[in-house]
């Protein structure tokens, strides 16, 4: 008998899964420790009750990962995809879209200096240079040799009247000038 007209026959089906056996990527990495266990799992479950779909909880779920690990690794993206029923490719697209998710490890203190035009004319470049010098980070985006600091430039932090604003992790500092930088960094060491 031939296959019934109109519909695929009930035979063996060739699917993408057959061709590329794809254990979830995070399961392939033996050393990977899942983020969403115990308290973090509870936190996520509680979060999911506040969104209409699991997909909608993607951004906060990624924040949990970043809080826990400091950055979002590929295996972590795969884990998020698995718990939210998305594909790793989709999660990666979102992670890479937003600059605030770190795709590489960063220092314990993540220093963001506004260098957009208003702050720039008020000397933001000097502030950046001072941070690089004091922390020992070799360049923007690079982490200091002691692993404690990463310095980057950001666009307008919304405090143009208080140039130069700096965010260190979740702390917001206003009116930072180059000469204040040594004491700020010193206090963190």
């Amino acid at each position: 008998m031939s296959a019934p007209a109109g519909g695929p026959s009930a035979g063996p089906r060739l699917t993408a899964l057959d061709r590329a056996p794809r254990a979830d990527a995070h399961e392939r990495d033996e050393n990977y420790q899942p983020v969403f266990v115990n308290a973090r799992r509870k936190e996520l479950d509680e979060l999911l009750t506040r969104y209409p779909t699991k997909m909608a909880a993607l951004l906060p779920a990624l924040w949990i990962v970043q809080e826990e690990r400091g950055w979002v690794s590929e295996p972590a993206m795969a884990e998020v995809a698995a718990v939210l029923g998305l594909t790793p490719a989709y999660v990666k697209g979102v992670v890479t879209f937003y600059t605030m998710y770190h795709q590489h490890p960063v220092g314990k203190y993540f220093v963001q200096v506004c260098t957009t035009s208003p702050c720039n004319v008020c000397g933001a470049e000097d502030v950046v240079r001072a941070f690089l010098k004091q922390t020992g980070a070799s360049d923007l985006g690079a982490t200091s040799p002691d692993g404690r600091f990463t310095v980057i430039e950001v666009e307008c932090l919304g405090a143009c009247g208080f140039a130069t604003p700096v965010m260190i992790n979740n702390e917001f500092l206003e009116s930072v000038s180059a000469d204040r930088v040594p004491s700020i960094v010193g206090a963190l060491k």
């Binding site: 008998m1 007209a5 026959s9 590929e74 594909t87 990666k92 697209g93 890479t96």
Partner: protein, 529 residues
């Protein structure tokens, strides 16, 4: 959308009526006007991201994206007015700032929408003086390589994988001028239909590895054809260069395959170029087969068959026309006709109901059934003592030596028609070489009973002839008076003789095909069976 309500619009001065809800872009097609576009594709959900389709609408303050705007009653749309052209020129200039324009080494060249529209309405030169962004070529797995520098981020590929294949392994990574198409480490474009992203990509960013650097598109000859690799009957274009098939691509048919072709079908064309073809008719002389002329060989075949019942083992990849001629031979002599079908795993394209790589890996299984051939796993089993055995383009691969020897002993004579000469066929009394499907025209009947034409794409080697013509001559030699050696004539006779095909004409099939009547019952092959 109200059912049946029609909207009148004027596009480039041409008044047309289209159903309510039609996009401006589709309405323009009705008016015979092509609105340039990149992200829009009729087989994909509308994204509206490229802005290439901007058109001017009278009494509207802003230009409208034609792909994502439905027509409204009385609208007057200008595609080639200055504001629309200037806007699209701006879009093109933006698309080209980071584009390498390496057309001389780009496989897409000659069939590239970026080239075409830039030539048609782009700027003469670029005002961009900065360094261009660079990203390395990436292997996307399957048959696909990604050249990010050429990508215009239309997201057709992402939408195909997500909305049609339901296997969303592609994404847009990063954003702004850093954006590229990405995939997740370890997850490749291995979906059985993933190769379609190569056709969907309007530029040379997604390329087929199989076709990479093989030919320039303007050197290719293209013929409308049907995929010979399963019973779905996807419409294809066979592309050849210097008489060698180098690529098989989907040809749109809303009723069969939309715009798509599976990877297995797409990449399985090399057998059409086999070099081990038989180029001359052969006749047994003593212990060996010796080359002969067609007249002599046909006469010898007729002599071998005359007065005997015939057991025909036919390939279900032969056209309706060849199978019909074979059925006529059986009808004259009495006997049986059987075929067997190579099997493979089924692979549906989830987003298109009814479209699937079918388990039956031959194009004309349904046609063979409707013409009275019987499906079997043991094609030699029905051979009775004293019968003639006629094997038609079936290599009997996998049949064990013992059963072949037994068959040869049982058969009073063996006649082989085909494209190649397998070792068992050395026992044949006569071998008649025929064209393969790329070298002739004909029709296949697909799994849904749709009869579809395919055209010739290249020349047959040596003296090989289309099977319908060779069998027509054989029928004549057997005393048949109705000499049918032209495919349209053979089809007319077929339609007259077999009720399911009743009313169809070869010309009437066009390139879209027609469906056999729903109650179609297989014919009884011959009174003698």
């Amino acid at each position: 959308m109200t059912e049946g309500k029609m909207i009148s619009v004027t596009i480039e001065g041409r008044a047309v009526q289209v159903p309510e809800g039609t996009s401006m872009l589709e309405a323009a097609k009705v008016a015979g006007v092509l609105i340039p576009h990149y992200c829009y594709h009729p087989g994909l959900p509308v994204a509206g991201v490229c802005r290439m389709c901007l058109v001017e609408v009278e009494k509207s303050a802003k230009l409208a994206p034609a792909c994502a705007t439905s027509v409204a009653e009385g609208q007057v749309i200008h595609v080639h007015s200055d504001p629309a052209r200037v806007a699209r020129q701006g879009v093109l200039e933006m698309l080209l700032i980071n584009h390498p324009l390496d057309c001389p080494i780009c496989d897409q060249s000659g069939e590239c929408e970026l080239q075409d529209y830039t030539f048609a309405e782009g700027r003469k030169d670029s005002r961009y003086r900065e360094a261009k962004r660079f990203n390395p070529v990436e292997d996307f797995g399957g048959d696909v390589v990604y050249v990010p520098n050429r990508c215009i981020l239309c997201t057709r590929c992402v939408r195909f994988m997500e909305d049609v294949a339901h296997d969303p392994v592609l994404n847009v990574s990063e954003r702004g001028d850093r954006a590229v198409i990405g995939k997740f480490e370890g997850q490749d474009l291995t979906h059985p239909w993933a190769g379609n992203v190569v056709e969907l990509c309007p530029v040379g960013a997604l390329l087929s590895k199989d076709f990479l650097n093989k030919a320039r598109s303007w050197d290719l000859d293209r013929s409308a054809s049907i995929c010979p690799n399963c019973t779905q009957g996807c419409n294809t274009a066979l592309e050849s260069r210097d008489n060698v098939v180098v690529r098989m691509r989907p040809r749109p048919n809303e009723d069969v395959n939309k715009y798509f072709l599976c990877d297995e079908g797409r990449l399985n064309y090399r057998w059409l170029n086999r070099r081990d073809r038989v180029e001359f008719p052969h006749i047994r002389r003593g212990d060996a087969l010796a080359p002969a002329g067609w007249d002599e060989a046909v006469e010898a075949a007729a002599a071998a068959l005359r007065g005997r019942r015939v057991h025909v083992v036919a390939s279900p990849s032969l056209s309706n026309e060849v199978l019909f001629q074979l059925a006529q031979v059986i009808a004259r002599l009495g006997g049986t006709g059987v075929f067997r079908v190579r099997q493979g795993p089924e692979a549906p394209l989830d987003g298109v109901p009814g479209l699937s790589l079918r388990a039956d890996r031959a194009a004309n299984v349904r046609g063979a059934e409707l013409l009275g051939f019987r499906r079997t796993e043991t094609p030699l089993a029905g051979l009775a003592n004293g019968d003639a055995l006629l094997v038609a383009d079936e290599e009997l691969a996998g049949a064990d030596a013992a059963s072949l020897a037994a068959a040869a002993a049982t058969a009073a004579a063996v006649v082989v028609i085909g494209t190649t000469l397998p070792s068992w066929a050395m026992r044949a009394a006569v071998m008649l070489p025929i064209a393969n499907m790329a070298e002739e025209e004909g029709t296949f009947t697909n799994v849904e009973g749709r009869v579809q034409r395919y055209l010739q794409a290249k020349a047959a080697p040596g003296l090989a002839r289309p099977g319908y013509a060779a069998m027509g001559d054989l029928l004549t030699a057997l005393g048949d008076q109705t000499v049918n050696v032209v495919p349209s004539d053979v089809f007319r006779a077929l339609a007259a003789a077999h009720a399911p095909f009743g009313g169809m004409t070869y010309e009437g099939l066009g390139l879209r095909g027609a469906t056999v009547s729903a109650q179609a019952q297989p014919a009884a092959l011959a009174a003698a069976t």
